[in-house]
């Protein structure tokens, strides 16, 4: 587990320094955030970067700020910082649900939200959560041009995102929907805090009549973060009671295909979708009504 030859290692401490490094257009650059997945890939030679640009010293990308109806999380914010942040409102609690159960304590102390989103592992917790919360990725190119990409367009498939090779993820924006919105995330793995065999995130909003008028449900563990559009639609204009949620999860099951491996059978994965889905959506609903 020793990496292939690495020509250069850089550790910029300002964004300007970072942009000048990226501007050279050299090949085989690896931009390293927390390094909790990427370094394993480098050590096992799955990745063979010639140049590692380590973002750990970029303290300007470590922040959680909220302004009116917007919460912004810097890309280099660590899981542990998300868990302990006071700025994250109840309606975005899914973020804390996910961050508090990623890996182990060491991973949570080093791993970053930006790293996880850009790596987009097939069984990661963060991409599915950010997708359910309709996060928007703020990307910047070395020439200073910026663009915002919605989560729906950002995650293209396992280990693939819409980020260009030389773009840097600066932060993620989350729009706050105000009262009567709530979110939650939960996963099941064989051991505590394992990568999810099945993970589900949900974000709901209820109107004045306590009817669900906004729903996003996402799934992880099978083939990366994916939305459950038909299930979301089925919850709209309902009160999202247990029966209606169960029906929504039946729809999810009918739309995805599962598989058997050493962790769980294909049938059991469907069962997990049903039970975790019910639990997650009920928690999100409770939070929407500030009940838990």
């Amino acid at each position: 587990m020793y990496p292939a030859p690495i020509e250069q290692y850089s550790r910029p401490s300002t964004l300007e320094e970072l942009y000048s490094l990226l501007d050279s257009n050299e090949e085989d650059i690896l931009v390293l955030a927390g390094g909790q997945s990427a370094m394993q890939a480098v050590k096992s030679r799955m990745l063979r970067p010639a140049h590692i640009i380590d973002l750990q010293a970029l303290s300007e990308l470590k922040f959680v700020t909220s302004e009116k109806d917007l919460l912004t999380v810097g890309a280099m914010t660590r899981y542990a910082d998300i868990v302990s942040s006071d700025s994250i409102p109840l309606e975005l609690m899914a973020l804390k649900d996910a961050a508090s159960r990623v890996g182990d304590r060491q991973v949570r102390n080093r791993g970053t939200i930006g790293g996880s989103l850009c790596w987009n592992y097939s069984a990661a917790c963060t991409p599915a959560t950010v997708l359910a919360l309709d996060g928007a990725m703020n990307l910047i190119s070395p020439d200073g041009s910026t663009r915002q990409v919605a989560a729906d367009d950002f995650f293209l498939g396992p280990l693939e995102t819409a980020r260009n090779e030389f773009e840097i993820l600066l932060s993620v924006d989350f729009k706050l929907r105000g009262s009567k919105s709530g979110s939650a995330y939960k996963k099941w793995g064989l051991v505590t805090d394992a990568l999810p065999v099945i993970g589900i995130a949900a974000c709901l909003h209820f109107d004045n009549a306590d009817c669900c008028d906004y729903a996003r449900i996402t799934l992880t563990g099978l083939s990366g973060a994916q939305r459950c559009l038909e299930a979301e639609a089925s919850l709209l204009s309902t009160s999202a009671n247990a029966e209606e949620i169960a029906e929504a999860m039946m729809i999810v099951c009918s739309k995805v295909s599962t598989y058997t491996d050493s962790m769980a059978t294909a049938d059991y994965r469907y069962q997990l979708i049903k039970t975790i889905g019910l639990e997650v959506i009920e928690i999100a609903k409770k939070r929407a009504f500030s009940l838990g």
Partner: protein, 797 residues
């Protein structure tokens, strides 16, 4: 320092002497040993489970700067003797495969060493390993042990003409005729028995994963020979094996197992092929060579055990008397190319230990072991009998269910009540009180109360269950068993050396992997001499300075090694007393003196005394005016062999709650009762029990080595090989019901090795008890939520 009475450190929960260094990162492992100019070795390993090697092209790799040498099987097969060699071959009849450290002609499992790259550093070595091109012709892999034994199966080791590496009948005497007669008698009991339960019990491939993987650092000197630092539980055996196989005269081989090793659990007990080629490379290149195994290599090659099918039948009467036991075991050996154990020695012992602590009037127990294209089974704590104990403890519950009796009552009724006892497979149980242990457990478990709670819970649709299991475990391995099983002596050996300052050095040939030998030994020596444990140090694992020991295996510490230490101390005390009596002009011998508080005191008149240090200094440094026939010096080496093989005994009770919706379960309680004999350090004994039970739970539920249908190992990292976290295991309520062992000088027993074996049965029994309303009986491990959920689906739909 903790509380103690009269310098009796026995039973004191002394914090471990080794912990400060280990917990502050100051431990020194093989990887921390620096020899200037040491080269680094990396293995090129087989990507296939079974394939012919057509060619190996090392030319491109050899061109890299920094490469010293690349070895292949073809190059070394004329320079190094093949395995097996007698020193690492049991005295058991088997088809021992012939092999070299690097594959010759063909590869037989995914991960087998094919070539060795030696380079100036590990980076270059790995760069070069990628450039070694091996041309293979794939062969059909043999992966199922039942298929392996069919005549049409491909043969893995062609010279044997069979994939059956080992088979044995353990009951009915030594001749085929007597065994057949016994089998017929057993069959007759089964035909007439009112209750018969028969099922197939499967345990998956799982085992142990020490924190520190394997490592070896070899140095060569033309006049002094080979110096090898090895992560090993048995340095003295490694020394003899390296000497024999590499044709280096034995006095020119020194093996040092570093004082600090990150766990063994059995994985570091075999003699491995990697060690042979690294030592050869150091000799060949006349430079130090180091190999440190990666986690990936470790999970691919070692720590895999348990892989067995047991077709078991129990006959009983309606009153709950066990009448007969029949078991046909089949073990999936893997490839079998591992010295000392060859894979099948574990299932062999597993069959011997299968009857557990129960009185079986009759039994027919047989075993077949099949070679497959998987990594060779390696010893793992609960050596061989984790699978057979799962089968028997599970089957016993199924019989009790059929009789309509509480499984715990059924067990108690059939436990061996009077010891000593010789089991139906001729295993000798020397001492102890099984019923006292069992009753201690039952008192804590409070079964009547639990059954009420269970009933109430059920009315709220909650499914809770209780499960039991027990285990007779080896306390050391007597020569009587060890010589035939592994061609090694079972005695414990220790040197105790006093110095003129009144301090003590102890030397032991076994090599611990974190069990706390430094502390336990110091407590015993301090108790014997009436001094402080701080005044005692121990050297282990260096073949240049320690007496011969077969290794840190089979719970030999609390049984054999510590007994040798105590006897050596007593020999020295006799001499000290003789000198002191002489100097004080007393007619007295050792029983007239007390060693306490750093003094040696004459019991007849306590004004007649000496400080321990002065009398010791006098004997070592001032050897004049001595008792007649005496010489100076205080140094004793003792070899301890117990009169009989020894055991310890334990019992488990666990309570679980099962979710009908997901099949997930939570362990609510884990209660034990233990007979560990006299305790030297309760912290260490508790730690052994906690660790063993956690290992047992983790093996039962989470850990599983998986091969795909091509024989590719799919679980060689911790993302896929799941081990229990702290949050996955329950609090453990340990209880002790001890009987001192009459065959050791301190009344101690060796503990901890076999301890995980009663866990899979107890845990699975609890889950089945919770699901008894559905009549669910689980006979296959791992005990996973998906499998439990499927059983619930099948039972309710």
């Amino acid at each position: 320092m903790s509380q103690r009475k009269n310098d009796d450190w026995m039973g004191t929960p002394l914090p471990r002497k080794e912990d400060r260094r280990l917990l502050t990162g100051k431990g020194k492992y093989v990887s921390d040993i620096v020899i200037p100019g040491a080269l680094h070795a990396v293995f090129v390993r087989s990507e296939y489970a079974h394939a012919k090697i057509l060619s190996i092209d090392t030319s491109e790799a050899e061109e890299l700067a920094g490469i010293e040498r690349i070895y292949t099987g073809d190059q070394i097969k004329h320079l190094i003797k093949s395995m097996p060699q007698p020193i690492v071959q049991p005295a058991l009849p088997a088809h021992y495969p012939t092999f070299w450290p690097l594959a010759v002609d063909k590869v037989t499992f995914h991960g087998e060493p094919v070539a060795l790259v030696v380079a100036r550093d590990k980076y270059v070595a790995e760069d070069a390993a990628e450039l070694v091109f091996v041309d293979y012709e794939e062969l059909k892999p043999v992966l199922d042990p039942e298929e392996a034994l069919k005549p049409e199966s491909a043969i893995i080791h062609e010279k044997d003409g069979t994939n059956e590496i080992f088979s044995m009948t353990f009951t009915g005497g030594d001749t085929e005729a007597s065994q057949a007669e016994n089998a017929a008698e057993v069959e007759k009991i089964f035909q007439n028995a009112p209750i018969v339960v028969k099922d197939r019990f499967k345990t998956h491939r799982t085992g142990v994963t020490p924190m520190e993987p394997r490592a070896i650092l070899c140095d060569w000197d033309d006049s002094d020979g080979l110096l090898a630092y090895i992560t090993t539980q048995r340095p003295h055996i490694d020394r003899l094996a390296l000497s024999d196989i590499l044709d280096i005269s034995a006095e020119k081989v020194q093996v040092i197992a570093p004082r600090d090793q990150g766990g063994g659990f059995g994985v570091k007990a075999p003699f491995y092929r990697e060690n042979i080629i690294i030592a050869h490379a150091a000799r060949d290149l006349k430079q130090p060579v180091r190999w440190v195994e990666s986690r990936y290599e470790s999970l691919m090659n070692v720590g895999q055990e348990r892989d067995q099918i047991n077709d078991m039948e129990i006959a009983a009467d309606l009153e709950g008397n066990m009448l007969a036991l029949r078991n046909f075991g089949l073990a999936d050996n893997g490839v079998g190319t591992t010295g000392v154990y060859w894979g099948f020695v574990m299932p062999f012992l597993g069959a011997i230990e299968l009857p557990n602590g129960y009185k079986w009037p009759k039994a027919d127990i047989r075993l077949k072991v099949a070679t497959t294209n998987k990594a060779c089974l390696t010893p793992s704590r609960a050596f061989g009998h984790f699978p057979t104990r799962f089968a028997i403890e599970r089957c016993i519950d199924m019989v009790a269910h059929k009789i309509g009796m509480e499984p715990s009552t059924f067990r108690r009724k059939n436990l061996v009540a009077d010891l000593p006892y010789t089991s139906i497979t001729n295993e000798y149980f020397d001492s102890g009180d099984f019923l006292k242990v069992w009753d201690t457990l039952m008192e804590k478990a409070n079964l009547p109360d639990f059954r009420v709670q269970q009933k109430n819970a059920l009315s709220e649709k909650k499914y809770i269950g209780i499960g039991f299991g027990c285990g007779v475990e080896l306390s050391g391995v007597a020569s009587e068993l060890f010589v035939p099983m592994e061609n090694q002596p079972g005695y414990g050996a220790a040197t105790v050396r006093l110095d003129p300052r009144g301090k003590v050095q102890v030397f032991g040939g076994d090599a611990p992997g974190g069990q706390g030998h430094e502390t336990t030994t110091a407590q015993v020596v301090a108790s014997e001499f009436g001094i402080s444990p701080e005044d005692v140090i121990i050297t282990t694992g260096n073949t240049g300075s320690t007496p011969f020991g077969s290794g840190s295996v089979g719970a030999r510490m609390g049984s054999y090694f510590i007994s040798a230490v105590a006897e050596a101390c007593r020999e020295l005390k006799t001499k000290i007393a003789k000198f002191l009596a002489h100097d004080l002009q007393l007619e007295a011998s050792v029983e007239h003196f007390e060693f306490k508080n750093g003094e040696v005191v004459y019991l007849g008149d306590d004004s007649q005394r000496s400080s321990f240090m002065s009398i010791v200094e006098r004997i070592i440094m001032f050897p004049i005016n001595m008792p007649e026939g005496e010489t100076g010096g205080l140094d004793a080496t003792t070899f301890f062999e117990a009169a009989k093989p020894m055991i310890c005994f334990n019992a488990d009770c666990c309570v679980v709650e099962v979710s009908l919706e997901t099949g997930d379960f939570k362990i609510l309680k884990w209660i034990t009762a233990e007979d560990v004999g006299n305790v030297i350090n309760p912290l260490i004994v508790n730690g052994q029990m906690h660790g063993a039970i956690v290992q047992g739970i983790s093996n039962t539920v989470f850990e599983e080595f998986v091969y795909d249908e091509q024989g590719q190992q799919l679980t060689a990292d911790f993302e896929h090989y799941k081990m229990a976290n702290a949050a996955d295991v329950p609090n453990i309520d340990l209880n002790y019901a001890t009987t001192p062992c009459p065959h050791t000088p301190l009344g101690t027993r060796g503990i901890g090795e076999g301890r995980p074996s009663s866990v899979p049965g107890a845990l699975t029994n609890a889950v089945c008890d919770a699901l008894k309303p559905f009549g669910i009986e689980i006979t296959t491990l791992p005990l996973r939520p998906d499998a439990i959920w499927q059983k619930i689906q099948d039972a309710t739909q």
